[in-house]
């Protein structure tokens, strides 16, 4: 029985560490939400409990239950979260960029700005051409 109990202790310790670190991810996200200056940097902090935190906690659940069949279910739950979180983050970031909820001086690069300027230039050129057609 001794090897079993030591293995149990090791698994318990690993899952305890996973749980504490996973909860610390949530606390880190909350501290980031409170301390970061604008929406984009707050979004950076907010993804920690959603991906790594959920992974650690689901792994702790799988370790505590000590059965093999739960792992595919937990993996499914995590992959679902992994698929939906980037989409919602993209939508929030896009809305934040469009409504100017960002501090431009904090950005190191702004790759979207060139695209926006190009599209705006194309729009004005098209409307100018239309105006020429009207006058002619």
């Amino acid at each position: 029985m001794t090897p079993d109990t030591t293995l149990d202790t090791v698994i318990d310790a690993v899952s305890a560490v996973f749980m504490v670190v996973g909860a610390a991810m949530s606390l880190g996200a909350a501290i980031g939400l409170l301390r970061f200056p604008d929406l984009m940097s707050r979004m950076h902090a907010a993804t920690k409990p959603q991906v790594l935190g959920l992974f650690l906690l689901l792994a702790a659940v799988g370790l505590q239950l000590r059965t093999w069949w739960v792992w595919p279910v937990l993996l499914l739950a995590w992959i679902f979260q992994l698929l939906t979180v980037p989409v919602s983050a993209h939508m929030v970031g896009r809305a934040g960029y469009r409504t100017k909820h960002l501090h431009r001086e904090l950005l190191s690069t702004d790759e979207l700005e060139a695209v926006v300027q190009k599209a705006a230039a194309k729009d004005t050129a098209a409307s100018d051409a239309e105006d020429d057609d009207d006058s002619a």
Binding site: A29, F80, T84, S88, M91
Partner: protein, 92 residues
């Protein structure tokens, strides 16, 4: 040991939830509040996972998935709403 872990994680998650609620209350813009509500939902999912792990059951697993669906639909919907409402005056 599990009881100690439960106490530590309960305290951590309570502090985290308090921080997220403060950001929801203070948050200068609607998108900040949406993001903080998303984090609050993630904290709720973390609490459900810890309950499952400590008490060794799987009753909350569907609830965890449902919480992540609610977070996804909610933040996407509000982001669309914000984009549409703020775009209108600048276009016209």
């Amino acid at each position: 040991m599990m009881q100690l872990v439960l106490v530590i994680t309960a305290a951590t998650l309570s502090l985290a939830a308090a921080g997220a609620i403060v950001r929801i209350a203070v948050g200068p813009s609607l998108l900040d509040r949406v993001l903080a509500a998303d984090v609050l939902l993630a904290i709720l999912g973390a609490a459900l996972c810890i309950d499952m792990a400590v008490n060794r059951h799987l009753n909350n697993l569907m609830l965890v998935v449902a919480v992540s669906v609610i977070g996804f639909i909610g933040s996407v919907t509000v982001a669309r709403f914000v984009a549409d409402r703020r775009e209108q005056p600048s276009d016209s």
